[in-house]
């Protein structure tokens, strides 16, 4: 493997954006048949480098060699011609289209002298490819109707359909469930075995250790090191990446349990399609504990959060906050009752990206007397407040008047957490709080959540990431098809067992869902 031939070589590649050097004289080599991981903090320049390779950006300096030939990749078209395919961090799928339409887009099989798209041939081809690589997608389904994991497979099929030999995966596992992740790793192995070479961008050290052959670490646009995975370990990688020591283990005292604060009983809630998404969910959350909700995405977690926070109506059942019913109340009432939410989608729900950080910091509290004087906002108080939060939570922003859009993902998340924690809630619901963040940011956020719990608050953690659940929770509830189907202590279980519980239940119930 060591001496396999280089399929891609990037030399001295420099890419600048206004005010920042995203790639600073980067050297990167991908060898045939390897899985090469790219590791680095948020904003280190990983995606940028790969976008350069895929022709989406033009570098200011440097050369690129593909299969030994010097090439200029002036657009995705050229990259595709060179056999490069990319699965983007944010999928590039046209949602109202079918799987097949997405795959063939841009190089459609034709009939009637090229006039019409030969849909039949397209379907056949997609099915055939899907079988060959064990991807198992339904060529007729609309993107809107399939899971995120399936969408990713469509992205993979898109590259394969175009005959790519070099595949770039940009954080492919950030959005996947544990099952999907292990399935993806199998697929990637499969691809490599069939002669493809893969660049894998990920923040998850575990995955790198599990599947990658070599790893290149970037920090602030520069390559720090490039080395074979075999001779390294996670903490070494983390240190190289952040530039300081990172504790991958979380220090956590035993929980001091208080009285139950949030009690959910027999909750039934309709989902988007009008079917019941929650089918009698029951659980109780006590002060001083972190309750992790584990489960495969789409088993009612989102609906549960929405029902708890007043964004979704309740068909039946009760939600009690400190003994008082809050079922079906408006979001503001719920918020006042002491529930805070770190939403799953920070761009869509967590922030107004086009507002300054300052305004975002009072998104839920602007109307309260400390900011609102007889209907007029007290911007002095608001600024003061924002400055304090930015300080306390280490939100890296040029000023509090900077638009939230300009912040990196990690800092956007920190801003949200600052806001929610500062509301001093009795119950903090954290939905996927670290999705897509680097280890440094994850460490910070995890510490904050534990801190809240230590202060006697109740934390409800909803995450599709088993490691996170296992690490943080004091108690884990497994959710399946809108119900809590089991409860375990993290100390008495492991991810295998948990993963089995999340899916095994399905088997014992004879679930109809296809794999």
């Amino acid at each position: 493997m060591e001496q396999a031939k280089a399929v891609v070589e990037m030399r001295n590649v420099t890419k600048r954006f206004p005010g920042i050097v995203a790639n600073d004289h980067v050297n990167f080599t991908l060898r045939k048949g390897e899985i090469h991981a790219l590791l680095g903090e948020n904003g280190a320049g990983k995606s940028t480098l790969m976008n350069v390779l895929f022709g989406l950006y033009q570098p200011e300096e440097g050369e690129i060699y593909v299969n030994g030939q010097s090439v200029v990749i002036d657009g995705p078209n050229k990259a595709i011609k060179l056999g490069i395919g990319m699965v983007h961090q944010h999928f590039k799928l046209v949602h109202p289209f079918t799987v097949t339409e997405n795959i063939i887009l841009g190089s459609e099989p034709r009939k009637w002298m090229g006039l019409a798209v030969d849909k039949k041939r397209a379907y056949e081809k997609v099915e055939e490819l899907s079988r060959q690589y064990g991807l198992n997608v339904d060529p007729f389904a609309k993107i809107d109707e399939i899971s995120v994991g399936m969408q990713q497979r469509v992205e993979i099929l898109k590259t394969l359909y175009r005959g790519a030999d070099i595949l770039i995966f940009d954080e492919p596992t950030a959005v996947l469930t544990p099952q999907e992740i292990s399935e993806l790793l199998v697929i990637m192995r499969n691809l490599v075995n069939q002669g493809k070479s893969i660049v894998l961008i990920t923040h998850k050290l575990k995955e790198i250790m599990a599947i990658a052959d070599s790893v290149t670490i970037v920090r602030r646009g520069k390559v720090i090191d490039s080395l074979p995975v075999a001779g390294t370990n996670p903490s070494q990688l983390a240190e190289k990446m952040v530039g300081r020591e990172v504790s991958l283990k979380l220090d956590k005292k035993d929980a001091v349990l208080g009285e139950p604060i949030l009690e959910v009983e027999g909750l039934v809630v309709k989902g988007r399609q009008g079917l019941n998404a929650l089918n009698g969910t029951s659980f109780a959350l006590r002060r001083g504990e972190i309750l992790g909700i584990a489960g495969v995405e789409g088993n009612g977690q989102s609906e549960l959060i929405e029902a708890l926070t007043g964004l979704r109506g309740v068909s039946s059942g009760t939600i009690k906050m400190a003994g008082a019913s809050i079922a079906g109340e408006k979001p503001r009432v719920v918020s006042e009752a002491g529930i805070s939410l770190i939403p799953e989608d920070r761009h869509k729900h967590g922030l107004v990206l086009d507002f300054p950080v300052r305004e975002n910091m009072v998104l839920e509290t602007y109307y309260q007397p400390q900011f609102n004087k007889k209907g007029f906002l007290d911007y002095k108080a608001i600024s003061h407040h924002a400055e304090r939060l930015v300080q306390d939570f280490d939100v890296r922003t040029p000023t509090i008047m900077t638009d939230a859009r300009a912040l990196s993902g990690g800092n956007q998340q920190k801003a949200i957490i600052a806001r929610e924690v500062d509301k001093n809630p009795d119950v903090l619901i954290a939905a996927q709080p670290t999705r897509g963040l680097d280890v440094g940011a994850i460490e910070f956020i995890h510490k904050r959540l534990v801190e809240q719990r230590n202060m006697g608050k109740a934390v409800l953690l909803v995450s599709y990431e088993l490691d996170e659940i296992l690490q943080l929770s004091d108690r884990i509830a497994v959710m399946y098809e809108g119900r809590i189907v089991g409860e375990v202590k993290p100390s008495e279980t492991n991810d295998q067992e948990l993963g089995l519980m999340m899916t095994d239940y399905k088997r014992t119930q004879g679930g109809s869902e296809s794999e």
């Binding site: 918020s335 869509k348 729900h349 107004v352 086009d354 507002f355 839920e364 007029f376 906002l377």
Partner: protein, 358 residues
């Protein structure tokens, strides 16, 4: 829509200035093609507006309604709505003011304010219909406001025809003097130009626009709704109520345009054959002003000056006044596509660059 709001606010001040110059140059070129004298034309235009007190006063009067409709359109923009219905709301505002002005008899200090308020409410309700349909039924406000423009036209004609008509005049009775908002001393000062309180109200509306949206709690809510409705819902803001409220305020502003035309300029309402265009001009003014209160004020002044002055242009230089629409269109075009200006600047060395510093 966000971009629409940002399109202007971010650009530095030189873009609008250069845009105006370029717009005038485009107009001049077209005049030259048509065999007219652009210098004479522009001079006549300026002469008309600034030449005497009467025309200057009338120019201010001409600016008033488009300042209101410009604010109305921009207000909706700011809350994520595209209000093409300022025209209809304007008509309803006229109607409300006329009804009160004609049918009731009250002391001055009650009558005029009442007519103003009722007219504003008429316009507001008309806007609110579109807001409600959007909030409750998800009906695109662009279509409803287009349709409501026509409905307003005919509804107003019906009301005038049926209840307010002065026989044989093709218009309503004149509003009572007690409902008039003209300012006698100012009119006399301006050589009998039709000066009225609407001008001051419009400037107040500019202040209101700013203070409400950027200083108040409700304004904050509306801006969140307009910029990111999902986040608004998460933050506990009632998005639907926000939409309805925003359209009510927007409609009221447009309604006020009509109110003051009735109470300050015409003192009656005619059976109208078609739209006046003030509502559509409001869109242009809002865009010229980048949906910023101050920008809108300047945009309305520019628009009003050019429009009013165009009469003088045809008087003094025989240039068809249509040319002014091309000029205004070009100015908006250059303001909206600053890329073009930058592109041009790159091509024009040194000399022109100095303007950039201004």
């Amino acid at each position: 829509m966000n971009k629409l709001i940002k399109a202007f606010t971010k650009e530095s001040a030189y873009v609008p200035l250069i845009a105006i110059v370029l717009g005038l140059i485009v107009g001049a070129i077209i005049m030259l093609i048509g065999g007219y004298d652009p210098i004479l034309a522009y001079r006549s235009l300026l002469d008309t507006v600034f030449g005497n007190r009467y025309d200057f006063g009338e120019t201010l009067t001409a600016i008033t309604p488009i300042l209101f409709t410009g604010l109305a359109v921009a207000f909706a923009f700011r809350t994520g709505l595209f209000n093409i219905g300022a025209e209809g709301q304007y008509i309803m505002g006229m109607t409300g003011a006329t009804i009160i002005g004609v049918t009731v008899n009250l002391p001055v200090y009650i009558h005029a304010p009442l007519a103003v308020i009722v007219g504003a409410i008429f316009g507001g309700v008309w806007g609110m219909i579109a807001g409600y349909l959007k909030a409750a039924r998800g009906v695109n406000e662009v279509i409803t406001t287009i349709m409501l423009n026509w409905i307003a036209l005919h509804l107003a004609n019906y009301l005038v025809n049926r209840f307010l008509l002065e026989p044989g005049k093709g218009r309503s009775y004149m509003v009572e003097d007690s409902a008039s908002v003209t300012i006698g001393w100012l009119s006399r000062l301006m050589d009998d130009a039709r000066m009225h309180w609407g001008m001051f109200a419009a400037v107040l509306a500019v202040v209101f626009f700013y203070a409400y949206l950027w200083r108040t709690k409700q304004g904050f809510e509306l801006r969140v709704v307009g910029t990111n409705p999902d986040a608004a819902a998460y933050a506990g803001i009632n998005v639907k109520r926000g939409i309805v409220k925003a359209m009510f305020i927007s409609g009221s502003l447009a309604g006020l345009a009509g109110v003051f035309q009735v109470l300050g300029v015409f003192h009656n309402q005619v059976i109208a054959a078609s739209h006046t265009g003030h509502g559509f001009d409001g869109i242009a003014v809002a865009l010229l002003g980048g949906n910023n209160p101050l920008g809108i004020l300047l945009g309305a002044i520019l628009f009003g000056t050019l429009s009013y002055g165009s009469a003088g242009m045809s008087f003094g230089a025989d240039v068809p006044p249509e040319i002014i629409r091309i000029v205004i269109g070009s100015v908006i075009f250059f303001v909206a596509a600053p890329g073009i200006i930058r592109w041009l600047l790159k091509r024009i060395p040194r000399k022109k660059r100095k303007e950039e510093a201004v």
